[in-house]
Symmetry: C2
Subunit: 218 residues, 2 copies
């Protein structure tokens, strides 16, 4: 039960807002978001690194993840590279690099590598075309599979298949759960707010008429 007043805002009031206020508010409503660095190269091998908070798990078999692209220029460099080369990496962000990660959202010219501009380190592995972020503890290499146009507001969803996963060995549980909090992965809210996490619990598979239990041993 809230102790403070509940405020109500309707669609008309949202549409009447000053643009930047609306952008901050509506972005905040999406809850805490996955935030990662996406690494690509263009056909000439020029590197690009961009921060994305619109990353979505699509399915496990085949293993698929999606990125949402808005029509703004920095994101479109990443999209162009994925379309040119067919490969990209998703690199989790941790507490040590979130300021550098945020800096990659600046509108650098296409020929500038955000790795160089922010001091993050590009690393290539297993002959995979796109660069990973060395400072990231969870790194994922993906191959482009499908692009879906979202006509209602000129956005695009790009789906990739996971080809490679790299993570700290001691973060993997026996049941396949990867403890991303232990790997220091952080989350974001809105456009610019970064948060670390504290686990409340892992809960058992829910069934009707059965009490949920904790999956944690201690």
């Amino acid at each position: 039960m809230p102790l403070t007043m509940q405020k109500h805002i309707s669609l008309d009031a949202i549409l009447a807002m000053e643009k930047q206020i609306r952008v901050h508010l509506i972005n905040s409503l999406g809850g805490f978001k996955s935030v990662s660095l996406v690494g690509t190269v263009d056909a000439s091998g020029n590197q690009n690194l961009g921060i994305f908070s619109s990353i979505l798990h699509i399915g496990a078999n085949p293993p698929l993840m999606a990125l949402l692209f808005r029509p703004s220029p920095p994101e479109r460099d990443t999209l162009k590279n994925i379309e040119e080369t067919g490969f990209f990496t998703i690199n989790h962000i941790n507490e040590k690099i979130y300021q550098q990660a945020h800096q990659t959202s600046a509108r650098y010219d296409s020929e500038v590598s955000e790795f160089d501009a922010t001091g993050l380190t590009a690393v290539y592995k297993e002959e995979f075309l796109a660069p990973y972020v060395l400072e990231s503890s969870i790194q994922i290499g993906l191959q482009f599979k499908e692009k879906i146009d979202i006509h209602i507001n000129n956005t695009m969803m790009v789906i990739g298949e996971i080809n490679h996963i790299y993570f700290p060995e001691d973060c993997l549980s026996e049941d396949g759960f990867l403890n991303i909090e232990k790997a220091n992965t952080i989350t974001c809210s809105g456009l610019d707010s970064y948060h670390k996490t504290t686990r409340l619990d892992r809960l058992s598979y829910a069934k009707p008429d059965k009490e949920i239990t904790s999956l944690l041993q201690n």
Copy 2:
């Protein structure tokens, strides 16, 4: 630089995994996710409440959010209701209700209200058709706009336009940012892990050759 061994898993090894282990692992890679309760009614007014961790901000003008639906039965009740009535709510989950929220993922029969089954309270406001969750501090009412088929793995994305927002008045910043951490919104990772957050910082809009600063006053 990691102190523990880095483990590498390739696509072949992912595809060869036991199904549940693969599901846990691939779901974990998506990072921390927005997790919310989606409230609907069918054409006869029967209530449904389901937990979703596949919620995506699509755009601010018009204000749009999306849900991803997998082909499993409990989610399909929510999808059927949205298609029948055109309305749904998204309700943030906080520390007090996350166990009840998780319990809504049990495969209840279609005629069972997950509100009744889990002890959460349905509330109707402003003549909006779909029920909100009283215990949720951030509540969003949406109107169905578009359904997009993702053929690659038989999933569907449903896009809704935000018609109403309710939130604690003291969580709104002057610039439009809504402090969802102050509203006790939590996040999840994988299929079953719930986490509260601690803010690291809010960072200024990034520009080339300009130092990022903190937006927080103290």
